[in-house]
């Protein structure tokens, strides 16, 4: 019996040894781009990758080949260059779920007050320095709490009472975010409000400390050393270097590409600039090849969209979003360009949305705009099919301001609500809303005062032409209107002064991928420059508008995800019932024109800021066909 035990122990030990050997043999062999190998300065790829690199394993992705460059055109940095390469702690999938990205994962305490976020061990900044929890914790405590990046503490980091969270380091690869009251959906909110939650402490610590200490000259001098740019003041510098960090050379990032430091290629305001591959990028493909596949993203600066189209046609540019009117030109050119159609997040065509300021100061106008009959009448007095044909040269169809198919809250009923063309019914509704037809055939207020709808819009946006098509319908229904288009800054000033009555074309469009994730243009008081609620806040809102704000607040304190969706649907139902904004043409999809040499483009997607627009197509996985 004793001998048997001995033999069993030996056998067990042997099995364990064999398993360990097998495990060692299974350590994935990573590959790197020849571009990096040829430079010969970066060492083995396995040493540059974290212990558990993120694997880009979406089904549609094929294993690519290294080399080449993605050729783009641009108008000067910022989000156009930033979103495609942005790396948040977490990111959205194409179906709207959250998945780990820079972070390896997270835990949340039962009371939803403590979130523990785990990072990837061995991950490095693009300059080769270790990326640790210290970078995340320091970013929040030094940069956000002191508003060094001009943005300060984002909503995602505030609890139900508006108090900022505490962010603390647990170990090199773990940190916690602690709230005083339960914070539900923090990770989703983080992925919308802040996204990255980190900055290279080893680069910025001294500069930021000087800013906090009020030693501005010293801070400016350090800032200049880091990125070679001389800033006028620390406020501007903080925002540019810590918020738009990808726009400046010499700032390490976790992105697949970083701005070149080479003279003549390193200014996003220049004629030409390039983002070069990050040798320490922490993602691999399914076969263990370190991403990205292409060596660079190069940008040629142009002045307008027509020039972008021209460069696309002659092959100088590989990728561009294009309008429907350009598709015919692309097809006729015979150039090998693939067109992909993505749905959008906007409600209705952005060029045909009509917003009434429900918070306007004049009481007569306010009562009228708040009356659903008036809004219904304004909606149905337009022959949508005829209008859509004229508006889009028969490219688009009539529609309404409603979520697009596939989006939360979509219903066919809503998409068609108040779309039937019926002038007689519209006139009845104008009358039931309190308007009286005057002798001149146009409606007046009940007290005999003229009612003239003053519509404004942003200049150079095509609104003047849209108005020319719309106005005859309004006139035929008995509504007298005026139109003025003006510079965007003037419109914004008027919006802030609550001086806008009705807007054609949104400054900030109504609709986003989710009313929960980004309620800014859909819930009063959440953002500036939204025409339909003007300067309305919770204090000034009444009725369903107040209910909408309260529901949004309720979401913040609701733990159950299903319950939160239910509340979101209630909020959308309020929009559907009230139709606070109307549109005459259905939302246009986003069209991507992609040179046929580019592989792995996401064929079906949703264009949304929450998804970082083109960012969700993960350009680090694109490669050039041999």
């Amino acid at each position: 019996m004793r001998n048997m035990k001995k033999w069993l122990s030996l056998a067990l030990a042997a099995i364990m040894c064999l398993s360990a050997t097998a495990a060692l043999a299974e350590t994935p062999a990573y590959a790197e781009a020849p571009y990096i190998t040829n430079l010969g300065t970066y060492g083995a790829v396995a040493d540059r990758l974290p212990k558990e690199p993120m694997v880009e394993d979406a089904e549609y992705l094929t294993i690519g080949t290294y080399g080449g460059e993605l050729k783009r055109s641009a108008g000067g940095g910022n989000w156009d260059a930033g979103k495609p390469i942005e790396e948040g702690l977490f990111r959205f999938t194409t179906t709207g779920e959250i998945e780990p990205n820079v972070a390896k994962g997270y835990d949340v305490s039962e009371d939803a007050k403590v979130y523990t976020i785990y990072l990837r061990e061995g991950m490095k900044w693009s300059d080769g320095q270790p990326f640790t929890a210290e970078d995340c914790v320091w970013f929040y405590n030094a940069v956000c709490l002191n508003k060094v990046d001009s943005k300060g503490v984002r909503d995602c980091h505030k609890d139900a009472n508006g108090n900022p969270a505490k962010v603390e380091k647990v170990d090199d690869y773990t940190f916690t975010v602690t709230f005083e009251t339960p914070k539900y959906g923090f990770v989703e909110a983080l992925s919308v409000d802040l996204k990255w939650h980190y900055a290279p402490k080893h680069i910025f610590e001294e500069m930021v400390q000087n800013i906090i200490d009020g030693k501005n000259d010293e801070a400016l001098a350090i800032g200049k050393q880091i990125c070679g740019t001389e800033f006028s003041d620390v406020g501007k510098m903080g925002k540019e270097m810590l918020y738009y960090f990808w726009n400046y050379p010499g700032i390490p990032t976790l992105n697949p590409y970083v701005l070149s430091t080479e003279e003549g290629k390193n200014s996003v305001k220049g004629e030409y600039y390039e983002f070069v591959r990050n040798p320490y990028y922490w993602k691999v493909d399914k076969a263990g090849n370190q991403l990205p596949y292409m060596d660079k993203i190069i940008y040629t600066t142009v002045s307008n969209v027509d020039q972008q189209l021209m460069l696309l046609l002659d092959g100088t540019v590989d990728y561009q979003t294009v309008g429907m009117d350009s598709i015919q030109t692309i097809i006729e050119s015979g150039t090998k360009i693939n067109i992909y159609e993505w749905s959008g997040a906007e409600w209705g065509d952005v060029g045909t949305q009509l917003h009434f300021n429900l918070n306007i100061e004049d009481e007569d106008h306010k009562a009228l705009f708040n009356n659903p009959d008036f809004r219904q009448a304004m909606s149905i007095c337009v022959n949508r099919e005829e209008f859509a044909g004229l508006y889009s040269n028969n490219w688009q169809e009539g529609g309404q301001a409603a979520p697009q198919p596939g989006a939360l809250g979509y219903s066919e009923e809503w998409a068609k609500k108040w779309t039937e063309y019926d002038v007689a019914k519209a006139q009845q509704l104008f009358e039931s809303a309190g308007l009286v037809k005057g002798e001149d055939g146009f409606y007046d207020f009940a007290d005999g005062c003229d009612f003239v709808l003053d519509i404004v819009s942003v200049a150079d946006n095509g609104a003047a032409d849209t108005y020319k098509i719309l106005e005859p319908y309004f006139r035929a229904a008995g509504i007298k209107c005026t139109f003025k288009d003006s510079d965007r800054s003037n419109i914004d000033n008027d919006l802030m002064a609550n001086a806008i009555e009705c807007m054609l074309l949104p400054v900030t469009g109504i609709g986003e991928i989710s009313i929960v994730l980004k309620p800014n243009s859909m819930v009063p008081g959440k953002a500036t420059n939204v025409a339909w609620y003007g300067t309305m806040t919770k204090e000034t809102a009444t009725g369903d508008l107040l209910k909408l704000i309260e529901l949004q607040e309720k979401i913040d304190v609701t733990s159950d995800a299903g319950e939160r969706t239910k509340i979101a649907l209630e909020m959308l139902k309020l929009h559907e019932e009230n139709m606070w904004t109307i549109a005459y043409v259905a939302a246009a999809p986003t069209y991507h024109a992609v040179n046929a040499r580019i592989q792995n483009f996401l064929a079906e997607g949703v264009w949304s800021d929450v998804y970082r627009d083109m960012g969700i197509a993960h350009c680090q996985c694109w490669y050039i066909a041999e």
Partner: protein, 331 residues
């Protein structure tokens, strides 16, 4: 003469002060400021601003001061430190933004100027010497076409023609490869090809005026008695044309060149945008649109200085050439 120049230079100072004041006043005149246009542009990209964010931006850009305080600070910076202010749009000093494009602008404008005079002078002389001939009509017609066609339209037509015939889009003076790899000998033919478009588009716009001036002046001079005398004395037609008539005919052309200083500095604007030329004109337009007031103000101010300088140079040249002006100053 020195007294005359000194007097003109003294007049320079109050004129500049008034001009700078008017420039600044006009630039800040539209409602809103850089922050409003910045917020609008960023909002369009999906960024969200709270009223506090906006107030914060306005404060740290120094835009919450009254405009005349901003003006005085700007002038103080220029006079005491040679600091023309800060470009909000580019995030660095105005002077560095201007210097970025200065050399290319000067080169492009200078070449265009050479082209204009190089083409117009011979044509003007030919037309005068062959008045009412088929050549006179044909060349004048081409000259008028150049002036009558809007530059940007001509640019679009030429670019379209090149695209249709070669399949290449010639936008800007440098191709992406040139910008990426730096200039190499193999790029020279393409670079010259790219230069031809702005040369033809912008150059032809000014040729007609010069052709007509030279033609008219030459015809005037040819009718003068000294020309008749020279011809009677048996001088060759070439000597009469180039040694006598042309020298006299060039006076208005040369004095007109002084006014080109401003154009040389800023270059064309609309055509430069259409052709994607990285010269000063589009920078000015962008600065005006985004209310980047110190940048716009500085460019317009420099243009004003160049106009004044050009006028001064032209006056000096006239005083030197024409004794009557000098005498009237003495008197």
């Amino acid at each position: 003469m020195l007294k005359y120049i000194g007097k003109r230079l003294l007049l320079f100072i109050p004129t500049l002060i008034i001009i700078s004041f008017v420039i600044f006043f006009i630039i800040q005149l539209p409602p809103g400021d850089y922050v409003t246009s910045y917020v609008a542009a960023m909002s369009a990209e999906g960024e969200v601003f709270t009223p506090e964010d906006i107030a914060y931006l306005r404060e740290h850009f120094g835009l919450d001061d009254p405009w005349f305080v901003q003006y005085l600070n700007w002038i103080k910076g220029i006079v005491t430190e040679g600091d023309f202010g800060y470009s909000f749009e580019y995030g660095r000093s105005v002077w560095s933004v201007i210097m970025d494009r200065l050399y290319l602008t000067l080169a492009v404008s200078f070449i265009i100027l050479l082209f204009q005079y190089g083409v117009s002078l011979p044509i003007g002389i030919y037309c005068a010497n062959h008045q009412y001939s088929a050549g006179d009509y044909a060349l004048s017609f081409i000259g008028f076409i150049g002036t009558a066609t809007p530059n940007f339209l001509l640019a679009i037509i030429i670019m379209y023609y090149i695209y249709v015939t070669t399949g290449n889009v010639y936008l800007g003076l440098f191709s992406t490869e040139m910008l990426q790899n730096g200039m190499r000998w193999e790029y020279v033919p393409e670079f010259l090809g790219r230069c031809m478009i702005p040369l033809i588009v912008i150059g032809t716009s000014g040729t007609c005026g010069i052709i007509r001036t030279v033609r008219a002046q030459m015809l005037d001079e040819q009718a003068r008695q000294y020309t008749l005398t020279a011809r009677a004395k048996g001088c060759s037609e070439a000597t009469i044309t180039y040694k006598y008539c042309l020298r006299a005919a060039l006076n208005p052309v040369v004095s007109g060149m002084a006014g080109s200083l401003r154009t040389i500095f800023s270059g064309s604007t609309v055509s430069a945008i259409v052709m994607n030329l990285a010269i000063q004109g589009p920078v000015l337009l962008t600065a005006l649109k985004s209310q980047d007031m110190y940048l716009a103000g500085t460019i317009v101010l420099i243009q004003a200085v160049l106009v004044l300088l050009g006028t001064l140079l032209s006056d000096i040249a006239l005083a030197w050439l024409d004794p009557r002006i000098r005498f009237s100053e003495r008197g």
